[in-house]
């Protein structure tokens, strides 16, 4: 491309207006939901899907479906689809918010130690045989691990009532390394069966989703989805710089603590039930920025919607592409997300000369 044309390209800004973006994303979510419900060992048409859901809500529609279809959709497929939506929403929300808070497009939820802390919590629970809380034992242990790790990172970065972002990121790196090492140490004493559970968990999967686990993480994801989009303008100003944000009237210390805390809760809840699912939190906000620009008032809610659809499609792919085998979800997201991210890096270098 010649320089003049390149210049012209960087001058032109094409963005999808929120009035178009949000209906499109909502439609995509509906399509993701219906296609996911439809495809599998037992086929269930969109109309049947609606009828089965209506039946469970106490409304009888005049559509024929078998008892097997009802059981498969209601007890297995639907909780899993809803779980995919919640996990995708949580990870994408946390990614969008943390990239803003850290003023860094490469930030992702794992940066603040929450994922590796959760992994450590889960692995310890598996190997110590922690089952007091029944099916929620593993998620609760993972959530606790993630929360403790984030809190430790945050404590380290706080000095004299101020938090320094660079220290926070470096402390996150250190804590990730420590959690990783501790996880390895615990794994080394595991038996064959425990080891398989650990590997399964760390590769990420939604196959154990039930309505109980859906209800367990719903409050956390819902809190994030309701509260985080309200901080769109604050995030825009934080991206401008910490001093700049303060000069423009933002209580930076308080906003940042709140935003990181909420992002950690949401990520912790998602990771607790799904295991480690990489690249969703990193990539989804970038896709939205590409389409609609960097304004967080659009970016945060749009990432939540897009994350849900993307995760539903990823999980659909993971459970159907190699039937009767099921691929680990974290592997699918990384296999698709990784190359996409590389393409994004390449495109950004070519058109804007990179991020630096």
């Amino acid at each position: 491309m010649n320089p003049a044309r390149q210049q012209e390209q960087s001058l032109r800004v094409t963005r999808i207006a929120p009035g178009v973006l949000f209906p499109a994303l909502a439609a995509l979510l509906l399509v993701a939901l219906l296609v996911s419900a439809n495809v599998g060992a037992v086929r269930i048409s969109p109309v049947q899907t609606l009828a089965i859901v209506a039946r469970h809500a106490g409304v009888h529609l005049d559509v024929a479906f078998s008892r097997q279809q009802d059981a498969v959709l209601w007890a297995i497929r639907l909780p899993r689809i809803v779980m995919a939506g919640l996990v995708g929403t949580g990870l994408a929300l946390a990614g969008a918010v943390l990239q803003g808070v850290f003023r860094n497009p490469l930030a992702e939820p794992g940066l603040i130690g929450v994922s590796s802390g959760a992994a450590l919590g889960a692995v310890v629970a598996i190997i110590a045989g922690f089952t007091v809380l029944g099916p929620l034992s593993l998620p609760v242990a993972a959530f606790a691990g993630g929360t403790v790790a984030t809190f430790a990172v945050y404590r380290f970065a706080r000095y004299g009532g101020r938090t320094e972002v660079v220290t926070l990121i470096l402390a996150g790196i250190a804590l990730n390394a420590i959690s990783g090492a501790a996880t390895g140490l615990v794994i080394s004493v595991a038996n064959e069966r425990q080891l398989r559970t650990v590997v399964f968990w760390t590769l990420g999967s939604l196959s154990s989703a039930t309505w109980t686990s859906v209800l367990a993480i719903l409050p956390f994801i819902a809190a994030g989805a309701v509260l985080l989009p309200r901080y769109g303008r604050t995030l825009n100003l934080l991206v401008l710089g910490e001093r700049e944000a303060r000069h423009l009237g933002v209580n930076t210390e308080r906003s940042r603590t709140l935003l990181i805390g909420l992002a950690a809760l949401v990520t912790g809840a998602a990771v607790a039930v799904s295991g480690i699912i990489s690249f969703v939190g990193l990539v989804v906000p970038h896709m939205i920025r590409l389409l609609a620009g960097p304004d967080h008032r659009t970016l945060v809610p749009a990432s939540a919607l897009a994350g849900a659809s993307l995760m539903m499609f990823a999980d659909l792919f993971a459970r159907t592409v190699a039937l009767p085998l099921e691929l680990p979800l974290g592997v699918v997201t990384a296999l698709v997300g990784g190359p996409f991210f590389l393409w994004l890096l390449h495109r950004t270098r070519r058109e804007h000369g990179g991020w630096g």
Partner: protein
């Protein structure tokens, strides 16, 4: 219209005293330039005045009230700060960046009004950044970014302006433009305090100059009072000649005594 006063401000880091009992008062209707050699404490003074740093001793008064008694947003409605440079990692357009200057008056909830857009367009026009409006901020040159940042600061419509080297990366035409804007703000009743490196810009546009050296205020007065050969040669530890500007009613500062 509020004044901004420093009362015996001191600031220390470890054993080093960066600022030593500096008192000065910027009043509405004037441009007060802070000048001095590198490391004299100019930026430290500006950070204390803007509330970024808390003084070890002394206090800052905005409109007669202690800076600490203002809430963050309240403060943003009273004073705007132009940093030396604002780096941005995300592809906001110049227009969107200037629009962020409207945040304090808009509050956190409501969207932008037609008046916000009008103010933004006007401020971009004044700083000659109108044509940059739709450009992506991180792709602009440093000088262009500086003009956009000034537009953002003006869009805040605060009566007190603190400018940290507002002309550092600008060409001569835009240097003059920016200082002219500072003067217009003052004439409209604003209080303008600017750290200025170029002594001739300070001489031409500031009503008063405060000279800092080794953390102390060594002189404060009109350009003619302050910009003397003896004082400048002493403060900058370099021979300096002061002439009369051939066209303007102000001193003209030149380096060196005779030819080197």
């Amino acid at each position: 219209m509020p004044s901004l006063e420093a009362r015996s401000l001191s600031y220390r880091v470890g054993q080093a005293t960066l600022l030593d009992r500096v008192s000065l008062c910027a009043v509405p209707g004037e441009v007060l330039a802070i000048v001095g050699p590198n490391g004299a404490g100019k930026s430290t003074l500006l950070k204390l005045l803007s509330g970024d740093l808390v003084p070890a001793d002394g206090e800052v008064l905005l409109d007669g009230q202690s800076l600490g008694s203002f809430g963050t947003r309240d403060l943003a409605l009273h004073r705007a700060v132009m940093p030396q440079q604002t780096l941005l990692q995300f592809a906001f357009t110049a227009f969107e960046v200037v629009l962020m200057g409207r945040s304090p008056s808009a509050g956190s909830r409501r969207g932008e009004s037609e008046r916000d857009y009008e103010v933004v367009r006007e401020c971009m026009g004044r700083t000659d950044s109108g044509p940059l409006s739709g450009r992506i901020y991180p792709t602009l040159s440093t000088g262009e970014q500086q003009r956009v940042t000034l537009a953002r600061v003006l869009a805040q419509e605060a009566p007190v302006l603190l400018l940290d080297e507002p002309t550092a990366s600008l060409d001569i035409r835009h240097q003059e433009l920016v200082m002219q804007i500072a003067r217009e703000c003052a004439l409209a009743g604003g209080t303008v305090l600017a750290v200025v490196h170029d002594l001739n810009l300070a001489a031409g546009y500031a009503h008063r100059l405060a000279v800092l050296s080794h953390g102390r205020l060594v002189a404060c007065g009109t350009p003619t009072e302050v910009l003397t050969e003896a004082l400048l040669t002493d403060v900058f530890e370099h021979p300096i000649t002061v002439l009369k500007h051939p066209l303007r009613d102000c001193p003209l500062v030149l380096p060196g005594a005779a030819s080197p």
